[in-house]
Assembly symmetry: C2
Homo-oligomer: 462 residues x 2
């Protein structure tokens, strides 16, 4: 029979081996647990929405995948449906649909795949199918700046537990940005281009940014003064000081700076350590959507990964669907991208990947009942336990245990069964001891603890 | 501005409020934990695969949704991609692609959405987008019958923890079915139609099934004998006895009965209680795919829900992709359907749905630091805690807590803060007590325990 080539679609190709999938799932669990710890509740929206819902905001059509039945009469989904490209538009539709049933402020989290018809670039961690992990706080009519101040404490809690090393939450304010541009006499027409140039400060050489600025109509002197103001390294209080000087010149900068100062004070109250956040005037984000505070997050040792968690404050979530004004603040972790980057730089070693803790080797199928009893006892004690069910030599069963990554093998042949003992073998330390059947659960538990501790000490585990 | 109607696509409409979503997620967690407890490891495959992969087996084209970019040059995914309609074809492709990297026997679980262009019928729990939760055990060349015997113990473990009441795993064997039909002189040409009729025994009146059988070319006497043989209620040993009598007449029935007898003995060894499984000759399943043991699972009090977990043994998983012979056994839980049915019959009350355990009410924003400190202490102790960040009257904050479903509210105004105490209010019992700040964590923990216990006693909780 001629075979079909088993292959993946380009950009739909972030598929992992089971041990990597376990690590991915553990990151999801960390994110979920921390979101819930702060009172965010889960929602999940369908992968496909009505096209008019997805395109309500405009400008995204070319990235959207629509659905078409392959070989049949068209159904509704086939005529009207398309895959969501983010979780914000579905959230807006969700809140507009269920406004009366939801408690406000509505704090939701959402962890789902999204699909975008972009050009995949594995090097940049850009794929056509990827996970987003979002939180948003939405209220009716008005939203306290305290919601904006809480967001960095959630980000901090997530990434601290993830163990990805030192990171910094970079905070800026769209009004400050607008005010700074006014202060440097950048016209409104040019401000979009100038912001895009400034967005490159972290990644590009100064000459590239300066050339960009002059192409945006700024004189060399003007460009160089703006560049210097924006790229100077200052601590949080110094930045607020520099902004205050500039703020005396225009109202927008004054408002923005006051907001930023208030926000920073509150972020401190929320317990985010000074080392984990800063004001970064070069943080720009999307041009239309955000109206106040904006965030990016970078790993101190890997700035080249770019932002691993971004978002900001917006004035109205669902204006395309409802007249109710819904101001909000939210962030998104692009988990597929983050995972691919953490793997690339070797930061995943800290994420536990043991699938199953104990393998009960079956030396002699006459004793199957005995093996199954041990497995049952261990599972009742919460130990993930597999019984090797095929007939195979001990050597082959241990090779299987190695390949799958078990911590322990439980071995008993005729001599052990007759004496009612079992051998517990630590597969990485290559040590083994015998225990009476009555002690097997506690012995396995303590052997697992030893194995985890040793791995941590060896630097190859959590 | 004219508004877009916020609405869902038909069949892509199983979207829940947060408290229901929490219950759904808890079922997913129970399924995942039990799968891992038995040594199954996770994989996740892309939502979209190459069309030729999905259609390799044939006969499914009209249910498949292909992708098309909405307004742009076609990309590869747009030309060649379509959404998977089950998790078995992607598993076959996955194993064929990664054969050398995987440990065999390969025990994988997979919990993902699938999409099918069927006519949605909410009454039957049939949707176009739904979750499947699959496990399979796959080996190279041969697979022990013990793998088939282990499957019911996993099903038992999952549904016991789910708390959905008594259930029964119905086991049959395709060879037995074939043998029985031969024993009743049903020709091979008619066997597919006859099996489809027999499949209705549980759901339809006897007259409907008998009429079906006569349409399939059986004489009234023949049909009535077959119907009586298949529909007689017997316990497991009686069924094996009845089959043995029939088995003397033909080889196929003999082989199948021997397999079934061996399997049943092993299922008992795996610790599945007699009350939780049975042989059911009317279990038929898909006609082509399964070659040996087949399973269905029904709730004793709700047989009308049909099977909530089904599967079976197959001879070769990935023959369309590789020459390696990969026999396997697997089952699938249609979770979206199960969830909609459990909700319908009121069986979800047993599933915990508290999103966030404690709300720190903010009576007076001068004491924000104080409130935030309490929240931090509680979160460090693992208690999901939210601080109410907007300015609102106590009454409104408590109304919010009720609507969201918090168990506890922590209340402190000037008098409490000055005395360094906090009031802990149980929101369902409507009782409140004051505790010194130093005892707040332990007091909250014990108040949470009380709240859970009381709910259980009232029969409105776990």
């Amino acid at each position: 029979m001629s075979k079909v080539q088993p292959a993946l679609l380009r950009g739909f190709d972030q598929e992992y081996l089971p041990q990597e999938q376990l690590q991915f799932n553990r990151l999801v669990e960390i994110i979920r647990r921390n979101f819930e710890l702060f009172g965010f509740v889960p929602i999940e929206t369908p992968a496909a929405e009505r096209k008019e819902v997805l395109t309500s905001k405009g400008g995204v059509e070319k990235e959207i995948y629509a659905l078409t039945r392959l070989a049949a009469d068209d159904d509704e989904a086939s005529i009207k449906g398309a895959l969501h490209f983010d979780l914000t538009v579905p959230l807006a539709r969700y809140v507009a649909m269920r406004e009366r049933e939801l408690p406000f402020p509505f704090r939701r989290y959402q962890i789902q795949k999204v699909w975008r018809g972009e050009t995949p670039q594995a090097r940049k961690g850009r794929f056509r199918e990827f996970y987003q992990c979002d939180i948003d706080i939405i209220n009716r009519d008005k939203l306290s700046y305290l919601a904006e101040a809480e967001i960095p404490s959630v980000i901090h809690s997530v990434f601290r537990e993830m163990g990805v090393g030192e990171f910094r939450i970079r905070i800026n304010n769209r009004k400050v940005l607008k005010g700074v541009l006014q202060g440097f006499n950048v016209s409104d027409d040019n401000s979009a281009v100038v912001l895009r140039s400034l967005d490159k400060i972290e990644r590009e050489k100064s000459s590239v940014v300066l050339e960009d600025l002059s192409r945006a109509g700024m004189s060399d002197a003007q460009a160089s003064r703006l560049f210097s103001f924006m790229s100077t390294k200052r601590d949080t209080n110094e930045t607020l000081g520099a902004l205050s000087e500039l703020a005396s010149q225009n109202e927008m900068c004054k408002t923005g700076t006051a907001e930023l100062r208030e926000l920073v004070a509150a972020v401190r109250k929320f317990g985010v350590p000074e080392s984990a956040f800063c004001i970064d005037l070069a943080v720009v984000r999307g041009l239309d959507y955000y109206t106040g505070t904006i965030y990016e997050t970078t790993l101190n040792s890997y700035p080249e990964l770019g932002s691993i968690c971004s978002g900001g404050r917006y004035d109205d979530l669902a204006s395309y669907f409802t007249d109710t004004k819904l101001p909000g603040v939210g962030i998104s972790i692009g988990l597929t991208r983050l995972f691919s980057k953490l793997r690339e730089v070797g930061l995943l070693h800290a994420v536990e990947k043991t699938p199953t803790e104990a393998l009960v080797v079956t030396m002699d199928h006459r004793y199957l009942d005995w093996y199954l009893d041990i497995a049952r006892l261990l599972r009742e004690a919460g130990v993930n336990t597999e019984v090797y069910l095929e007939s195979a030599k001990l050597r082959n069963q241990l090779a299987y245990a190695d390949k799958k990554g078990f911590r322990l093998a439980l071995i008993a042949g005729q001599s052990e069964v007759e004496r009612n003992v079992v051998q517990i073998k630590d597969l990485s330390a290559q040590t083994a001891s015998e225990f009476p059947l009555a002690e097997v659960v506690s012995a396995v538990k303590s052997a697992l603890e030893d194995s985890i501790k040793r791995e941590a000490a060896d630097g190859i585990g959590p």
